[in-house]
């Protein structure tokens, strides 16, 4: 079986500074994969590389077996990969309902249609409503996204990300800045919504990581130093030395 | 012919340096604050008019110093009481504010000074031919303009390398997001940069006023070319702005000096064809299209190099 995501020997440098060096990563289909590492290790850069936000200097990235490195983000998205952002990145002046619906439109085949009434598309309507329900924002459907609370915006962020029905979901620190209660809710949400899909997640909160992930990769200085199940990672001396020893005691 | 080349080169470099006096301020302001100051050419115009007025009152030399300072003060006031309050509404609102300002300044200037060209004369001390090339005089005042522009250019370079604000500006040019981390002083730095940028534009106005025309439409004539310069050079790139300024200055001057048209190159078209866009294009001379050359260049550069000559930034 081909892996959902296959990163092979990817390098990325800005100017002379190499941020990612010889990155290799493989995420199997249906797997929940967490990427952890200290600040500045290149986690977000890795996300940006895979999702097409930036182009690798060298190396190759495959999605479900197809080469996607060098493609534009929307091309990658259309092939079934969707990502969220670390900094909340919603459509601030549009309502919650419209935010999610925008995420649904391409996937339901309406694309750039200018001859259809967007309010009269039953499939779009149902799907949007279901997602709103899923992210518990139905009661806020007509509020402009910019006016939501922080936690609500994070949930909306996830909603937009999954709206298109992508098979691979990438979440960049989905619980950052949340309280304990909110985090628990978000984790449950993520677990439920990514059922049957491939999930790649970057997260600082180790309880989230170890609670959620099937496999974990540890990124240090732009390089994966270890990859394995949570237990393997816990026991890996290299990880302990480079990362866990410092931050998790 | 040699005469034309020498004179055109001098004029072209001169015009280019004037453009750079303006585009450097515009570029720095844009890099730091993300605002493209639409009213920048209006500050140039204000410089010329202040220069004219002060010259009548207290003479050219004091005006040369005072007028740019005044324009700088106006610029700082615009930043402090206008842009700073508009910042929360985003860059488009800021751009629109400066657009409205450009409009208002032009109207105020023509209200106060009228629409006719001002009798803004070259100071007597500089009103003599500096040298003669093939029997054509080259005015000393133009040499003076060139010297002032180059001096400012050098001073600017030194200021960027040696002063604290200069270092901040440099950091902003390379890493725009850095500016956010300047701390509580950011407002003062912005105001200062905006003031210096406006003062530079004002200085360009003071020295260009007597040589070119001092009139209430001078901002409208120069403004669009200025934007071409900075987009062409690459938004936010100071070296890019420098190259683009000189290039456009030279191109515009040399285009005027050329007589060629397609008709003179390939011979006239069959007169039986009658008027059509083809005959229009065929017969137009390079000199006639000189003023639209910058815009043609802009389109070309955008097709082949959307970032501009030395630009690195997406938008």
């Amino acid at each position: 079986m081909t892996a959902a995501i296959e990163v092979k020997a990817v390098d990325k440098s800005f100017g002379n500074v190499g941020i990612i060096r010889d990155l290799n990563l493989s995420v199997a289909k249906g797997e929940r994969h967490a990427i952890i590492g200290p600040n500045g290790a290149g986690k977000s850069t890795t996300f940006n590389l895979i999702s097409g936000h930036i182009k690798p200097t060298s190396g190759e990235i495959r999605l479900n077996g197809d080469v996607i490195s060098g493609l534009r983000p929307f091309e990658i998205n259309r092939r079934g990969l969707s990502r969220s952002f670390q900094v909340t990145n919603v459509f601030a002046r549009m309502t919650v309902w419209e935010n999610v619906r925008c995420g649904v439109l391409w996937a339901t085949g309406h694309r750039y249609a200018f001859w259809k009434n967007v309010d009269n598309l039953p499939e779009v309507k149902q799907r949007t409503a279901r997602i709103l329900d899923d992210i518990h924002l139905s009661h806020r459907r007509d509020v402009p996204a910019g006016l939501l609370t922080y936690a609500e915006q994070r949930e909306l962020e996830i909603g937009i990300t999954i709206a298109g029905g992508a098979s691979v979901i990438m979440l960049d620190e989905p619980t950052a800045g949340m309280s304990h209660a909110e985090t628990d809710r978000a984790v449950a949400l993520i677990r439920r919504l990514t059922e049957g899909r491939t999930l790649v997640i970057v997260e600082h909160d180790m309880s989230v990581v170890f609670g959620l992930a099937d496999r974990i990769s540890v990124l240090v200085y732009g390089n994966i130093i270890a990859s394995g199940t949570p237990d393997e990672i816990r026991g890996n001396p290299k990880v302990k030395e480079a990362y866990l020893g410092e931050e998790i005691d | 012919m040699a005469e034309l080349i020498v004179i055109s080169t001098l004029n072209g470099v001169l015009f280019g340096m004037l453009l750079f006096l303006l585009s450097s301020g515009l570029t720095v302001i844009f890099s730091m604050m993300g605002v493209l100051n639409f009213a920048h050419a209006s500050f140039y115009m204000l410089g010329a008019f202040f220069g004219y007025q002060l010259t009548r009152w207290i003479g050219f030399w004091p005006a040369l110093v005072l007028a740019p300072l005044l324009v700088g003060a106006v610029g700082m006031a615009v930043e402090r009481y206008g842009l700073r309050n508009t910042h929360k509404h985003g860059h488009v609102a800021e751009l629109l504010l400066t657009f409205g300002l450009a409009y208002a300044i032009e109207e105020i200037v023509s209200m106060v000074w009228g629409k006719s060209p001002m009798d803004y004369r070259i100071p007597a001390a500089l009103d003599f031919p500096a040298f003669t090339v093939f029997s054509t005089n080259y005015p000393a005042y133009k040499i003076f303009m060139l010297v002032v522009s180059v001096t400012i250019f050098v001073a600017l370079l030194i200021a960027l390398k040696r002063t604290r604000v200069g270092l901040i500006v440099q950091a902003a040019l390379t890493h725009p997001s850095m500016v956010g981390h300047l701390g509580h002083n950011v407002g003062r730095v912005f105001m200062l940069v905006f003031g210096v940028g406006s003062a530079l534009a004002g200085l360009a106005g003071v020295i260009a006023g007597p040589s070119l025309v001092t009139q209430s439409d001078m901002a409208g004539l120069l403004g669009p070319i200025l934007f071409v310069v900075i987009v062409f050079g690459g938004l936010g790139s100071l070296p890019g702005a420098f190259i683009a300024s000189l290039l456009i200055g030279l191109i515009q001057t040399f285009a005027v000096a050329l007589n060629g048209s397609l008709a003179s190159l390939f011979g006239p078209l069959d007169p039986g064809l009658g008027p059509s866009p083809l005959t229009d294009i065929w017969n137009v001379t390079v000199a006639q299209i000189a003023p639209i050359l910058p815009y043609l260049l802009l389109v070309l550069v955008l097709i082949f190099r959307p970032m501009g000559l030395l630009g690195t930034r997406e938008s």
Partner: protein, 412 residues
């Protein structure tokens, strides 16, 4: 025109429709009163208001008071049409305009259409300064009358003068790149070739209209060509800057111009020190030597604080009165009929006439040079307080300032 409080009232009027008593003869003055050409437009307005006062002081036109209604067109053809429509809506039957042949063409077209669509509400268009020959040739209209000499008439007169000047050998043409500049250029080439085939055209330049801030590259070209005379139709800043750049570069040639005397021009010439090297071709000059004209000039300057830049406006208004009296009516249709072919003694002396074929007024043309005035008693008028003034060089009689027309006049 400037009563702020009426902003609201005027608005209501605009919607509610404004009709007014026909007791006064209203002449809509459609010219720039704001925007780039405002200073010129204001000068024209004052001239016409002075002339209206003059008529009114003598009992008006057939007992009707004459009123000038200012309508600001910002030198924009489209805005002119809005203003013309506004004039029609306000019951105005005469309009006058001068600045910009493009505006003139638009108005001529408007008047023609309006008069054919709204019989009984005819509008006459008195043109006092739009000089594009096409207005009285291919575009000619029965409802349009032009008092200014069109650019080809002036060129005819100028070349008739130049043909007797053996010192002119190499001529350089520099003009603004638009219809007027182009007709100056092509007429100059055609007429010089016919009258002085030995004269060499050493340069023929068209530059963008009102966009050049530094003419020194052009001056370098003129210098390189070895020209002894330059012919230019440039106006506004394009003539002032051209002369300034010439003086800077030390270019010594004679300048034959259409509009060097426009606002700011005399100051610029004085500044450059080109004493009697700049010639202008006009239908009248202040120092013409004609007593009546010079008395008029004196009174005009005293009251309006301007030099009389539009002697043709004087002819226009006085001739309007004469035509109305001839027709014994202020109805535009009758006045138009009376104007056709009408002979008239112009301000500066000599007879002119309104040719029926194309409604172009033909009149004596003057060539004058600008510089120091030798005899202050004979030539009392200077310009813009420079101490310099226009000196009569040559007067070309009406007969030598005639051009044929291609107009096929459609009469109602």
């Amino acid at each position: 025109m400037r009563h702020l409080p009426i902003a609201v009232a005027a608005a209501v009027l605009m919607l509610g429709g404004a009709a007014s008593a026909q007791e006064t003869v209203k002449i809509g003055y459609i010219d720039p009163l704001s925007g780039g050409g405002a200073s010129v437009g204001e000068g024209g307005l004052k001239t016409f208001q002075y002339l209206a006062d003059e008529l009114n002081a003598k009992g008006g036109v057939l007992g009707h008071k004459v009123e000038i209604v200012p309508l600001d067109n910002k030198t924009n053809p489209q805005e002119s049409l809005v203003q013309a429509q506004k004039a029609v809506d306000a019951g105005i039957r005469y309009i006058t305009q001068g600045n910009g042949s493009s505006v003139g063409a638009a108005l001529e077209d408007f008047v023609t259409k309006n008069n054919s669509r709204n019989p009984g509400k005819e509008l006459l268009y008195f043109n006092y300064a739009a000089v594009d020959p096409s207005l009285t040739n291919e575009k000619c209209s029965y409802w349009h009358f032009r008092w200014d000499a069109s650019s080809d008439i002036k060129m005819e007169a100028l070349t008739n003068y130049m043909k007797d000047q053996p010192s002119i050998k190499k001529v350089y043409l520099i003009n603004q790149d638009y219809s007027f500049g182009q007709s100056v250029r092509s007429d100059a080439r055609k007429m010089l070739a016919a009258k002085r085939p030995d004269v060499q055209i050493v340069g023929d330049e068209l530059h963008p209209l009102l966009k050049i801030t530094d003419f020194s590259p052009y001056i370098a070209k003129i210098k390189a060509s070895g020209a002894d005379s330059v012919v230019t139709g440039n106006w506004g800043q394009d003539i002032a800057l051209l002369l300034k750049a010439a003086a800077d570069a030390g270019l010594k040639v004679n300048w034959y111009t259409y509009y060097a005397g426009g606002a700011g021009g005399p100051t610029a010439i004085k500044q450059t020190g080109l004493d009697h090297q700049v010639y202008q071709i006009t239908e009248g000059i202040p120092n013409s030597g004609n007593k009546a004209a010079m008395d008029f000039e004196k009174d005009f300057r005293a009251k309006v604080n301007l030099s009389l830049w539009y002697p043709r406006a004087v002819n226009e208004m006085r001739m309007f009165k004469a035509a109305a009296e001839k027709a014994n009516s202020i109805d535009p249709v009758k006045v138009a009929a009376a104007l056709e072919g009408m002979k008239f003694d112009v301000l500066d002396g000599g007879e002119g006439f309104m040719r029926a074929d194309d409604h172009q007024f033909f009149q004596p043309i003057y060539i004058s040079s600008f510089g120091t005035l030798a005899d202050k008693a004979k030539e009392p008028f200077d310009e813009e307080n420079t101490g310099w003034g226009w000196h009569l060089v040559s007067k070309i009689d009406t007969a030598n300032a005639m051009v044929p027309t291609t107009c096929k006049m459609k009469r109602p």
